[in-house]
């Protein structure tokens, strides 16, 4: 680790304890960061499928997913580009609910989320179970805007936000880890902000 930078004092002396190392509070802004053009998706034609190593591969339409038990997340989100945003409020359905219906087999260990754009991201199965992950279509009580992944995005707020795939349409359960888009392009496989797992080798 390098020593102090000449002349640098830093600005924020009273760090919010909710802020992981190397992050700053972005306030009310919500930056948009994606690697591809924003797709146009009509909610009525959107659907999500859970497949792969499951007993019952299942697809839910926009109407069907809304009939599942509503689940909300209130708390922080953390982007690898170093902003964090506190007191967010998302609503949708818990990934637990989808997996209870699809029934992962005993050998399922990992999940790959796929977006309408072809974007993918990988997660260990235990990181989307137990109330840690959602599919969300509401933000602050309003429909999730398309630039933030609407109509429906994955939300895995305990990991860096690239894991929360925008425009999600598929969750595929796998026996082995399969690196997704950013994970193949230099970013960390897990992405825990509290351990600053930003890039490969962290």
């Amino acid at each position: 680790m390098a020593g102090p930078t000449r002349g640098f004092l830093g600005r924020r002396r009273d760090r919010d304890p909710r802020l992981p190392p190397g992050q700053y509070d972005v306030g009310a802004d919500w930056p948009v960061l994606t690697a591809e053009p924003t797709p146009r998706i009509v909610p009525e034609t959107w659907s999500v499928t859970v497949d792969g190593r499951v007993g019952s591969p299942t697809t839910w339409t926009w109407a069907e997913v809304h009939r599942l038990p509503r689940s909300e997340y209130r708390g922080a989100i953390h982007c690898v580009t170093t902003w964090s945003r506190f007191d967010t409020w998302f609503a949708g359905v818990s990934v637990d609910t989808l997996l209870e219906a699809a029934r992962p087999t005993d050998e399922a260990r990992f999940v790959v989320a796929t977006s309408k754009t072809g974007y993918t991201t990988n997660l260990p199965l235990e990181h989307v179970l137990g109330g840690k992950a959602w599919l969300v279509w509401e933000h602050d009580g309003r429909p999730l805007p398309v630039e933030h992944g609407g109509p429906v995005r994955l939300l895995v707020p305990h990991l860096y936000f690239w894991k929360s795939a925008k425009w999600v349409t598929r969750l595929t359960l796998l026996t082995r880890d399969q690196p997704g888009f950013w994970e193949q392009n230099g970013y960390h496989d897990l992405g825990d902000p509290w351990r600053q797992q930003r890039y490969q080798g962290d």
């Binding site: 390098a2 102090p4 004092l9 994606t34 690697a35 591809e36 630039e147």
Partner: protein
């Protein structure tokens, strides 16, 4: 820090002598991390402007008034300073030096494209690149002369430029630059990147051929 220049207002060009450097690909970035005496750190990513063959790594940083890292780099850093950097990083927004490409930049979004243009010159393949740049005014555009020499189309949104009145990048600007088979790279603010990528989609560019890098005061 081997060199510090301020060729355009509210920004700084940094030339770094990086020990044990791994060559970057044009389009990749470095992370700069600043450490306070009490151990507090702040880090941000900045695109590389230099070509891999340059003995130094050149970063170009826009100074954001409320930017904790960019104000330090623009106002405090001097030649001879040591900086903690990490890189090169990123495997997506890179040019391979062999594929025809259309580069569309807004403002300081030109930086990764300067690296691509310089790399093309090193390889003798400047024929592969087409460049379009949107800037508020010419005086604010980083690497303006170099981009003009590379044949870039420059659009100014706040002042006339040549015979062209002030205005945003339009489909008619990109039509002569786009050819099937090109990979399109878009770099700029979130608003610019969204507008430019929708412009390309409108021309019939497949979404899978468009690579976008968005940045902003908060990105």
């Amino acid at each position: 820090m081997a060199g510090v220049r301020r060729p355009v207002p509210r920004s700084v060009q940094l030339r770094l002598d990086v020990a044990d450097r791994v060559d970057h690909l044009p389009g990749q970035h470095y992370v700069v991390r600043l450490t306070a005496p009490d151990g507090y750190t702040a880090q941000r990513s900045y695109s590389v402007a230099s070509a891999p063959g340059d003995p130094l790594v050149e970063l170009f940083v826009e100074r954001l008034d409320d930017g904790e890292v960019s104000t330090h780099l623009a106002d405090v850093v001097e030649p001879g300073d040591e900086l903690e950097v990490r890189g090169p990083i990123g495997g997506w927004f890179v040019w391979d030096g062999a594929t025809p490409a259309l580069l569309v930049a807004g403002g300081v979004g030109v930086v990764p494209f300067v690296s691509m243009v310089r790399t093309a010159a090193e390889l003798g393949r400047t024929d592969l690149l087409r460049v379009a740049v949107s800037t508020r005014t010419l005086a604010e555009l980083a690497y303006a002369d170099e981009l003009a020499a590379a044949g870039a189309l420059v659009v100014t949104t706040r002042e006339p430029h040549g015979i062209r009145p002030a205005g945003r990048l339009a489909p008619a600007d990109l039509v002569p630059l786009w050819e099937p088979g090109q990979t399109c790279y878009v770099c700029g603010s979130a608003a610019f990147a969204e507008a430019a990528s929708q412009l390309l989609l409108g021309l019939g560019v497949p979404a899978t051929s468009i690579r976008v890098e968005r940045f902003g005061p908060n990105g």
